[in-house]
């Protein structure tokens, strides 16, 4: 289909139904109430009990009234996360360690799987079944590149070893 710059846009179903020329310069994103002038003094909802460790931003005085309890911090990644939360959200010292912790957590997750007797099927987890069905050429290309790189690395190592002996 080619691009047609239609001048009959007003025929498009619903054209202009939400236009409001009186509302200038633009549409309100918030219904101003002035409540934010009361700062952090609204009537808070009941507090969810902290049954697991919850890290909270140091830009707020306490945890929010509700929070998620999935995956409390643990292991080495947990140590890194606790350290990260000593810095405000404005600091790279907060966010970059969290990204590092995420990567450490991937390794922890792998060993946790093994500890539970589960050998992760990386190919299935990466959705290679779908890739094989819809992008076979791409999969074969990746396999070929991987094989060439692996073969090259092995050849290089063998050559160095042989050179060392000589």
């Amino acid at each position: 289909m080619k691009n047609n710059r239609s001048e009959n846009y007003s025929r498009i179903k619903g054209w202009g139904v939400d236009a409001d020329p009186e509302n200038d310069p633009t549409y309100p994103m918030k219904l101003y109430s002035g409540d934010d002038h009361q700062r952090f003094n609204w009537k808070r909802p009941p507090q969810q009990p902290e049954t697991v460790e919850v890290l909270h931003s140091n830009e707020r005085p306490r945890v929010s009234a509700v929070f998620g309890t999935s995956i409390p911090p643990s292991g080495l990644s947990g140590v890194i996360r606790r350290q990260a939360f000593k810095y405000s959200e404005s600091r790279f010292g907060h966010w970059l360690p969290l990204l590092l912790a995420d990567r450490v957590n991937v390794v922890e997750g792998f060993f946790d799987d093994l500890r539970r007797g589960h050998i992760p099927n990386i190919f299935a987890e990466k959705g290679w079944k779908a890739a094989w069905k819809h992008n076979r050429k791409g999969v074969l290309m990746r396999l070929a590149v991987g094989t060439v790189l692996a073969a090259g690395t092995v050849a290089l190592l063998l050559a160095r070893k042989a050179k060392g002996r000589a």
């Binding site: 939400d18 633009t26 918030k30 995956i71 990466k126």
Partner: protein, 379 residues
């Protein structure tokens, strides 16, 4: 119960997890009937969002049937089939009172810059998401809305995020009658934003992307003009020429951190993580809008920082408006728009897959295989 389980960048599977519990008097437990994979889930899937812990269940776009309610829940009852907005909102804090339901201050302890979001890392509250058989829904009296009897559940699930986010993108653009609106990104949200731009009286709508099948979809669905930036030497120059050399009245960034189109942004933002994802779509939006124009941002970025031409924002006098969609605020209007036939959210759904095949579904969506626009997982 079965639930999607994040194992690391580009690795997910479906495992058995414990049934969720009521942890707060205003909680509900919802049995999920449909759950989408969102474009912003791909930022998590690609490992770009800090504090995404292994074992987390993603999914912030879901509908389901109320199975259990906490003692203080009054507005929902067991058996109700509900739309659950992706933002978790208390309804009582200063921000919720101003209808900024995407900015609630009582739903996310881990970060003050973002409210709680289902299944969107601990940076968004550490909640398990709806790509599961069951999910805990906090503040059940506030967000969840009963699906109207005659509404198709496929439309309903698209009202949890895609339609409100696309609509709010157009709304924040402050579109005037006859305006030229450029939308960067032909994903589901971008396509919806293009469609909604007409509702505000746009005179011309242009979508920019590089995935040909999505551009073709946008041309039919929105309907609008759609251009592949790979075939344009310089999309900004192209748009200047197309708009009488002044620039568009409104530009919308509906891409966010995973944008393609710049080697510099891809390497520094997506590979080396030196910035919070690639911001090339926002860069183009700022440079393509007219002086005094409006840039509306709904694309999701990480919390650190990005390379964008902020000097041009100053020099051109651009107004930038951005937010997570305030789903609860928009739901009544959008339900009516679906009923009136002004928007057809379910038409964006191209793939319906069992929850058990989540790994394949993520791969198809992420790699844009099989002409995928939007995937729904059925538990």
């Amino acid at each position: 119960m079965l639930a999607m389980n994040y194992r690391g960048p580009r690795r997910v599977r479906v495992d058995h997890k414990p049934y969720p519990e009521i942890l707060h008097p205003n909680d509900a437990i919802v049995r999920v009937t449909r759950s989408c994979i969102c474009g912003s889930d791909l930022h998590l899937y690609h490992g770009m969002v800090p504090d995404t812990r292994v074992g987390t269940t993603f999914g912030h776009e879901f509908i389901g049937i109320v199975e259990e309610t906490g003692p203080s829940v009054q507005n929902l009852k067991k058996g109700d089939h509900v739309i659950v907005p992706f933002n978790i909102a208390c309804g009582t804090c200063a921000f919720c009172k101003q209808e900024l339901y995407g900015n609630c201050h009582e739903s996310n302890p881990e970060a003050t810059a973002v409210g709680g979001i289902f299944g969107y890392s601990h940076t968004a509250g550490g909640y398990d998401g709806g790509q599961a058989e069951y999910v805990r829904v906090p503040y059940a009296d506030v967000g969840p809305t009963v699906i109207p009897e005659d509404m198709d559940p496929d439309d309903a699930v698209m009202l949890t995020d895609v339609a409100p986010t696309g609509y709010q993108a157009a709304e924040m653009g402050g579109i005037r009658i006859g305006d030229t609106v450029v939308v960067f990104g032909a994903g589901p949200v971008g396509i919806m934003a293009a469609r909604c731009a007409w509702l505000f009286g746009a005179g011309r709508v242009i979508v920019i992307d590089h995935i040909e099948y999505r551009l073709e979809f946008a041309r039919h669905y929105a309907p609008c003009e759609a251009y592949n930036f790979r075939s344009l030497e310089d999309p900004v120059l192209f748009l200047k020429k197309e708009t009488g050399w002044l620039g568009a009245d409104v530009c919308i960034d509906a891409v966010g951190a995973d944008a393609a189109g710049s080697a510099l942004h891809t390497i520094t933002g997506k590979k080396l993580m030196l910035q919070a994802g690639s911001a090339i779509a926002l860069h183009w939006a700022i440079n393509s809008v007219k002086k005094g124009g409006i840039v509306s941002v709904v694309g999701v970025y990480g919390p650190t920082g990005n390379l964008v031409p902020i000097g041009n924002v100053v020099n051109k006098g651009i107004t930038m408006r951005a937010n997570q969609a305030s789903v609860k605020r928009l739901l009544p209007r959008l339900i009516k728009h679906v009923e009136d036939g002004y928007i057809d959210p379910k038409a964006l759904i191209t793939h319906r897959m069992p929850l058990a095949e989540a790994a394949d579904a993520y791969h198809i969506f992420s790699s844009k295989l099989d002409n995928c626009i939007k995937t729904v997982l059925i538990p």
